[in-house]
């Protein structure tokens, strides 16, 4: 399997361990990634808030760069998925609007074409379940995550709005994390926050609202007996992991729950070592996860 790859900004910034672990995990899965290093930020919904046409054109450029490679595109960030799907929905809705957007891209030798060769833009989670296949994934597991209790945390942007995110065609997309955890041999922990908001989008505007959300979900997962959370969204990771000690102050309780990026969880089951996967860079210690898995060496 060969895919055009948009890693996003945060995966190469404050959560650089995500970018690194994706490379290791992709190799173990046998997925070849062609990184789009000329592509730009998706705008994270913020640029669309300022100027919709600007966000649509910036993302049309990324799509056009991916289409140039002749490959389907994969991202590793729920927020990129949501922000890009929003722009793609508008671009695909109307040929006159698309032509207007393509006007500026044509000056750069680029063009975004609707549905060109069945072109898709999918999060790693969707690729894993829909294209790679969970049976094939399960076959690759060399260190089953037996006994590891994992709480899924999706990130809003791959869960809602359902109509825009292809749930008509793939109605189970909001169960893929559970299915993936099970395919890796882990145990799914049910708790209230799995499909709720981490609060990150308002961290600079209303810190308390933001961290109360993060702290509540981490606390609920701990109460449900989770050993760790797993998320396909690096922005959720910032609030759930990097801000976790601050969130603990807001919800006034002890937290201390490891939060893994999806490629890290997959990588662990495929035999990669925690340090290789950058888990030591996390703020909330991943030591407990490593202890739980110590009995099942790769």
């Amino acid at each position: 399997m060969k895919l055009a790859y948009w890693p996003g900004c945060v995966s190469r910034g404050f959560t650089a361990e995500l970018h690194g672990s994706m490379a290791i995990t992709a190799e173990k899965l046998g997925i070849e990634l062609v990184e789009l290093d000329r592509a730009n930020c998706c705008g994270a919904g913020i640029i669309a808030e300022h100027n919709q046409e600007l966000a649509d054109t910036l993302n049309a450029r990324t799509f056009a760069l991916a289409q140039e490679t002749g490959l389907a595109m994969m991202n590793i960030c729920s927020t990129c998925q949501g922000a890009q799907s929003e722009c793609q929905q508008r671009l695909d809705a109307d040929s006159a609007y698309r032509a207007h957007i393509n006007e500026v891209l044509s000056g750069q030798g680029l063009s975004y074409e609707k549905g060109k060769g069945g072109w898709t833009n999918k999060n790693f989670l969707w690729v894993l379940v829909e294209d790679y296949g969970l049976d094939k994934l399960a076959e690759k597991v060399v260190r089953p995550l037996s006994g590891l209790r994992v709480g899924p945390f999706y990130g809003c942007y791959v869960v809602r709005p359902k109509e825009r995110l292809g749930y008509d065609e793939y109605p189970d997309r909001d169960l893929y994390l559970e299915k993936t955890i099970e395919a890796l041999g882990g145990e799914v922990v049910e708790y209230d926050g799995a499909r709720k908001c981490c609060g990150f989008p308002v961290i600079t505007m209303n810190r308390e609202t933001s961290l109360r959300q993060a702290g509540t979900h981490v606390g609920d997962a701990i109460d449900a007996g989770a050993d760790c959370l797993v998320t396909p969204c690096p922005l959720c990771h910032l609030n759930l992991d990097m801000q976790q000690p601050e969130a603990a102050k807001i919800v006034n309780r002890d937290l201390g729950l490891a939060v893994l990026h999806l490629p890290q969880l997959v990588g662990l089951a495929l035999g990669a070592e925690p340090k290789q996967l950058g888990m030591s860079k996390h703020i909330a210690s991943t030591g407990w996860v490593e202890e739980r898995l110590a009995g099942t060496p790769a």
């Binding site: 730009n40 300022h50 450029r61 809003c156 308002v202 505007m205 959300q213 703020i283």
Partner: protein, 374 residues
């Protein structure tokens, strides 16, 4: 006809007991609604089972409730579909994949009066009144009706479709964390007047909503209200349009909302990808290097992020110059940054808004040879 089990969250205040769950067996056609199922249970099993309803056709907005955890109208949710969702939710983990109970609860983020009846006054209506939901024109009223161009009203038709059912309020994840958040229904209503050409206090309205700590910048962008709304109002989209209008009016709000948007937009023009250190600094204190004095709130915000940075340096997460020093972050390579700048020049000139709600999607897929070749 099919059999269903409704698991209903009940609360009878006169009993003095806490809320509890009760299951009702109902038998009806899958195409009928969850509300029909509740009414059947009330008729056959327990006349005290309380629910608010009237039109049964998604017009009156009375029967807002949570069905399998999702906020919506009881009359607009087919019981067969509710069963499918219940089975789907139970299909992972230890659950079974059929015959699960359909869970029915009163709406969230509101006090419960009895069973499925919530107190809409204390949250929903109070917040609706908070946004001054009536026209504020200036000058003497015209002798006859106000005349406006139809095009200028199209922009606000989406927010006018609201039936005040409260489903968006029930689903709002910001309100869960901050009960004082003005919320999706009231802010969508606010846009209905901000966008109305007859209203003369647009700026005042935007100042008010931007500077309220629980106003437009308290929305956490979770899309819950978009999925909950039975009428396609997309309240979150209306909140984003309020933010866009506030930005155009250059309203420097106390929540750093406008700063954050401006900082983000400028940063991508310069660098192409997110320079997190610069974004943090500029969101709290734009122009800290010279022109402007940072506010007290900005200094507090910047200081508040220091412990996070120190922890990041310790684990190695932030142990590099671009992650610590604003502006060191590299540009896109090989002329790509100039392409991004060209896009900015074009889009900032046109600022086109394409609203799918109004324009709709093209129905017919053009033939390959008819596709525009741009």
């Amino acid at each position: 006809m099919a059999e269903y089990t409704l698991r209903v969250r009940r609360y009878q205040p006169e009993s003095g007991e806490a809320a509890y769950w009760e299951e009702f067996q109902v038998e009806l056609d899958p195409s009928l609604s969850v509300l029909d199922g509740i009414l059947q249970a009330r008729d056959r099993d327990d006349g005290s089972l309380s629910v608010r309803c009237s039109c049964r056709a998604a017009i009156c907005g009375s029967c807002g409730m949570k069905i399998n955890g999702e906020s919506g109208l009881g009359c607009k949710t087919q019981i067969g579909e509710a069963q499918e969702l219940a089975d789907k939710q139970a299909s992972v983990g230890e659950g079974s994949s059929e015959g699960n109970t359909i869970v029915v609860e009163p709406m969230g983020n509101m006090p419960v009066i009895k069973d499925l009846i919530t107190d809409m006054e204390s949250t929903h209506w109070t917040k609706i009144r908070r946004v001054t939901p009536w026209l504020l024109p200036h000058g003497e009223p015209p002798e006859r009706e106000y005349v406006v161009e139809p095009e200028s009203m199209i922009d606000i038709t989406q927010s006018m479709a609201c039936i005040q059912c409260g489903a968006c309020v029930s689903s709002c994840l910001s309100m869960e964390a901050d009960p004082d958040f003005i919320g999706p229904a009231a802010l969508a209503k606010a846009y209905r007047f901000v966008g109305d050409p007859r209203d003369a206090e647009t700026k005042e309205r935007l100042h008010d909503l931007a500077n309220d700590p629980h106003g437009i910048y308290d929305c956490t962008h979770c899309f819950s209200c978009i999925d909950a709304c039975p009428k396609g109002v997309a309240p979150m989209d209306q909140i984003m349009r309020l933010r866009r209008r506030a930005g155009e009016e250059e309203i420097h709000d106390v929540n750093n909302g406008e700063n954050h948007v401006n900082a983000f937009v400028k940063m991508i023009e310069k660098k192409g990808t997110n320079d997190e250190a610069l974004l943090l600094q500029e969101s709290y204190a734009p122009g800290i290097k010279g022109k402007l004095k940072p506010t007290k709130g900005a200094i507090k915000g910047l200081l508040g992020s220091l412990p996070v940075a120190i922890r990041g340096i310790k684990t190695g997460k932030m142990r590099s110059l671009p992650k610590l020093i604003p502006g060191v972050h590299p540009k896109l390579p090989d002329g790509a940054q100039d392409e991004v700048k060209a896009i900015y020049a074009h889009a900032e000139e046109h600022r086109e808004q394409f609203n799918i709600y109004i324009k709709g999607e093209e129905e017919v897929e053009p033939e390959p040879d008819e596709k525009e070749t741009v």
